[in-house]
Point group: C2
Chain length 208, copies 2
């Protein structure tokens, strides 16, 4: 059947939905995943390592990457650039790895536009009350930050319809399995099996 390419998966969701933990568990439990690493111009925080959390770049370097079309998508927040370097993602896909990108909705839509085969997953807690509870129980955020995250969540919720799948993160392990199932199933999509179809069509033609 030839080597099959991996699936490009975009994971978005409300802050507090548990995307980070979900993706960590997924990549630890199963071998077929690669996590895309973003590039950014913001300074490393204590404990962050080059090439692990982010590729840290100067504004000049980042703008060169933009100019040379080396990014799948990028955005600017609060005077810093954030983006997804193309090369690593495409290499992983070629090797048959399923590549996970964690990006917000605007970036997700840009990825879908450039790569219509990308699978868009939206992760959400079971309800808004639970979302609020999770944000509060972190204990690290001020009431103001929590309010602004909930405000942001309300805006983001308007874009949920653009996603292919809805993943309700109630129980983490069940959620990991669900996402894994969705991605495995995606490999069976007819459009991803063109080679197989062409081969069996011609075999049957010769058999006539």
């Amino acid at each position: 059947m030839g080597e099959k390419k991996g699936v490009l998966i975009v994971v978005s969701g409300f802050s507090g939905a548990g995307k980070g933990t979900l993706m960590k568990c997924l990549t630890e439990k199963y071998e077929n995943y690669a996590l895309s690493i973003s590039a950014t111009t913001r300074s490393p925080r204590p404990g962050e390592e080059e090439g692990r959390e982010y590729f840290f770049r100067t504004t000049e370097e980042f703008e060169k990457m933009i100019a040379e079309d080396q990014l799948i998508e990028y955005a600017r927040y609060v005077n810093n650039y954030y983006g997804t370097p193309k090369q690593y993602v495409l290499e992983c896909l070629e090797k048959g790895k399923d590549v996970l990108l964690e990006i917000e909705i605007q970036g997700a839509l840009k990825v879908k536009e450039k790569y219509p085969d990308a699978l868009l997953l939206f992760v959400t807690p079971p309800d808004a009350g639970e979302l609020k509870k999770r944000l509060v129980s972190r204990g690290t955020e001020t009431a103001e930050v929590i309010a602004s995250r909930l405000m942001r969540a309300s805006e983001e919720a308007q874009g949920m319809d653009c996603y292919d799948y809805l993943v309700i993160n109630d129980d983490l392990q069940a959620c990991v399995e669900e996402v894994h199932r969705i991605i495995r199933s995606e490999h069976c999509r007819m459009g991803r099996n063109r080679e197989f179809v062409v081969r069996i069509q011609s075999e049957l033609e010769m058999n006539k």
Copy 2:
């Protein structure tokens, strides 16, 4: 979230692909499935029971069902009608059951037209050689019948692209799991979770 409706699944594939066994295993192993039973005007064969293999109907009765729009799809082969009664299927879907229809490609396309949410699965052996081997090893078919089935398979292969998923039936148990996975994932499709989306959008709106 309210009661979720079931998924309507159309299973097609080459004669010899093992669709029947696959669906039998699936419904025996998991409780969420209902098998649609076709109506036909052909006579019962020894061992066949009314309401188990088929609903046996007179031509007059069948044509009344057509006239009264009681069939999801129907076709005529060799002077006999075959069709899918609508009521049973819709009742099962309402109850949240995932309903399996085994029909050939023309019928599958008619179902998709009427029910765009229907999930179309195409089951195939790993290659044409294996298909031939399976048809021969049944030992019940004449060389002529085998040749005509292979001829038919070659025609059917031309329509594979219309299906949503390709299911390669190499190992039966693996295949049962794969189909089950595809159908479970389908429940997470954004379009099938409209109620949830509307609810969380309004909850977040109130939270602002």
